[in-house]
């Protein structure tokens, strides 16, 4: 409950800061926000696009949140998404399978690739106590350059050197019934995968021994070790699951929302995952709602940009400011406490309230 209040206050403060920014560049914030909402939610197609935008964020948010529960900071979701997306694209371009089997193999390939990419930092953390923040950043750049050379080398697009060959519509996660239901939006099966992932992860964290052990390691790895848990194994396992989530997020992004991989870009969704996890208080359901909120901000700013002078980077700025406030939640909590104390003081006093310095 308290986490929710802190998150909501952070969101409000972030939106207020965004409004101030719009004023600063001479635009009308009310107009800006109303266009933003229209852009994200005005009709079925836009709602579909918003949900599709949120899909990879749900995965990366879950990925970061899951690792965080074990006390690990997976900043490498971007790289894990890239290799996951590459694996799925490679499967789709190489094998000629019937659609259900192909999609299944693609998702599995992305899952395994992402997990393997996170396995290395996990192993280094468990065996050599190498800080996972640094090692996952290194893995991001290794993924970046690997994609940079492998895509043009083996899966070159027909027209552009800088992206992979476009997948046929039937080889992607898009499906006619969803596309028709949302009036031609690029929403796809990735959303269902994301919802399933939310449920599975919530189940693992809350209801299984594994989840309990992972959380115990996160709270105090020495106490967990003393209680007989295999700390090193749990660290590696946590990174594997975290990487697998990000890998499937890559599948959803590159073979669902898009149909090709572009080189030279680390997907921003990896870093946004940190924001999503933080705002969602590292809880799967919270992650889901935070991701949808960010989806609204991202997909709404395109329309806002078309209708006004406001640059689309407003979404990133608002998100970043929200995260700063969420990170400094102590400030908000102190204010809440003060507010509460004042309230109860007032209720206690029967006589007239004496202001400080009056007496």
């Amino acid at each position: 409950m308290r986490n929710t209040i802190v998150s909501l206050i952070s969101i409000i403060l972030g939106l207020v800061a965004g409004g101030i920014l719009m004023l600063f560049i001479g635009s009308n914030p009310i107009e800006g926000y109303s266009y933003l909402l229209q852009g994200a939610l005005k009709n079925l197609e836009r709602i579909g696009n918003t949900l599709a935008t949120a899909t990879p964020l749900i995965f990366t948010g879950l990925s970061v949140a899951f690792a965080f529960r074990t006390g690990l900071f997976n900043i490498g979701a971007s790289g894990q998404m890239l290799v996951g997306g590459l694996a799925a694209t490679a499967v789709a371009l190489t094998f000629d399978l019937s659609r259900p089997i192909l999609l299944l193999v693609m998702v599995l390939a992305g899952l395994v690739a992402g997990a393997l990419w996170a396995f290395i930092p996990g192993l280094l953390k468990a065996k050599f106590n190498v800080h996972e923040v640094v090692s996952t950043i290194m893995m991001n750049w290794i993924a970046y350059w690997t994609i940079y050379y492998i895509v043009p080398g083996y899966f070159k697009g027909e027209f552009l050197e800088t992206e992979s060959k476009k997948l046929a519509e039937s080889d992607t996660l898009r499906t006619p019934f969803l596309t028709e239901m949302f009036d031609g939006s690029y929403i796809n099966l990735g959303l269902f995968l994301a919802v399933i992932a939310v449920i599975i992860i919530a189940f693992i964290i809350e209801k299984t021994t594994l989840g309990f052990e992972l959380k115990a390691v996160g709270f105090n790895r020495f106490a967990a070790e003393y209680a007989g848990m295999k700390v090193n194994r749990n660290i590696i396992l946590s990174m594997l699951i975290s990487g697998a989530l990000a890998g499937v997020g890559g599948v959803a992004l590159y073979t669902g929302n898009a149909s090709s991989i572009q080189i030279g870009i680390l997907p921003a969704q990896g870093y946004d995952g940190i924001a999503v996890a933080l705002l969602g208080a590292n809880h799967p359901v919270g992650v889901f709602f935070a991701a949808v909120l960010f989806g609204i901000l991202y997909s709404g700013t395109g329309f806002m940009n078309a209708m006004t002078e406001i640059p689309p980077e407003l979404a990133n700025t608002i998100i970043a400011i929200i995260i700063y406030f969420a990170a400094t939640s102590v400030m908000i909590e102190r204010l809440l406490n003060k507010f509460k104390a004042k309230k109860s003081n007032k209720e206690d006093k029967s006589g007239p309230v004496v202001e400080k310095g009056d007496s």
Partner: protein, 317 residues
């Protein structure tokens, strides 16, 4: 072999210098006990404000060299201002330092592009020209060394090297340096000895902001000549150099030189026949793989400041 070294040396130095000054900034922050993953964002802020002020000032002032130096100064000030956000969050509010740093990285990249797009339309800010390289008088006439070190150098290179040696002196030979290091190792003891830990940590983070801001602007005035909204992971590379260099100024110098040369070799490999035989992908990932290996090797004997990343609780024993 020698001719290759001679060829790539100037480029490697140009690449190294922004990395060096940023990593040095990170050193001050981390030796005072505050993890600074925000180096990347602070570099972006420096690059933005440097490019912006040069862009505007060059229309007002005639002396272009002065304009460039003023641009660097603006970058330093902007870096300091922005790093206050990190200092406030991690010192006063006991925020998780990595999350605060990540938030600042995100704010920096988003806000600068937002503003730049509003100013120029495209989101890029071009400057008319950067520093021009010049020979150091007398020293450049020395055979071999003169060609390598003193020919076609930038004044900023010498500035950064001077900062490196002054920093090294401050860190190890002055009262402030001792206090800074003690706050990163055992802040409770430092406080018991009468040191204001929060104040020292503030100065550590602000110095890192100043240096990272300068590093970002140096990229504009010596390499790219244009602000494009990113510094392409150099801030994170600076962080890796800091760890690679084991939180020591000369170690950081060696680590950044390594990254400078490794990256330059990867960038120019296609035009040098001896290097073109190696697949470029290997050259590109080489620095990162080496960093991972180095992290493993150093893991047993890590010289990391003991209290780095922990929030300061003066009652903790």
């Amino acid at each position: 072999m020698w001719s290759i070294i001679e060829q790539i040396f100037p480029y490697a130095i140009i690449f190294t210098i922004p990395l060096l000054i940023t990593a040095l900034g990170g050193l001050f922050s981390e030796r005072s006990g505050i993890v600074n993953i925000a180096l990347e964002g602070l570099m972006v802020i420096g690059a933005f404000s440097g490019a912006l002020s040069i862009h505007y000032l060059s229309g007002v002032l005639d002396n272009h060299t002065l304009v460039l130096w003023l641009g660097l100064l603006a970058a330093v000030l902007a870096g300091i201002l922005f790093s206050i956000l990190h200092a406030f969050a991690s010192i006063n509010l006991n925020a998780n330092q990595i999350i605060s740093g990540t938030a600042i990285n995100m704010i920096a990249t988003a806000l600068t592009v937002f503003l730049a797009r509003n100013i120029t339309g495209s989101g890029n800010i071009r400057i008319s020209s950067g520093f021009s390289p010049s020979n150091v008088p007398f020293l450049s006439d020395i055979p071999v060394i003169g060609d390598l070190f003193f020919t076609k150098t930038y004044p900023t290179t010498w500035l950064v090297l001077a900062i490196l040696f002054v920093s090294s002196f401050i860190l190890y030979k002055t009262r402030f340096g001792l206090r800074l290091r003690s706050c990163g190792e055992f802040p409770q003891a430092a406080e018991a000895a009468g040191i204001n830990v929060r104040k020292v940590r503030y100065s550590g983070v602000l110095i890192s902001g100043a240096f990272a801001g300068l590093g970002g602007a140096l990229i504009i005035v010596t390499q790219s000549g244009e602000f494009t909204g990113t510094v392409a992971g150099l801030g994170f590379l600076a962080l890796a150099s800091l760890i690679f260099g084991q939180w020591k100024p000369l170690g950081v110098l060696a680590a950044t030189l390594f990254f400078g040369f490794a990256s330059t070799i990867a960038n120019v490999s296609q035009v040098i026949p001896e290097l073109a035989v190696i697949p470029p992908i290997l050259l590109k990932i080489f620095p990162y793989v080496v960093t991972l290996i180095a992290l493993v090797i150093f893991s047993k004997s890590s010289q990391a400041p003991k209290a780095v990343g922990e929030t300061f609780d003066s009652g903790k024993r």
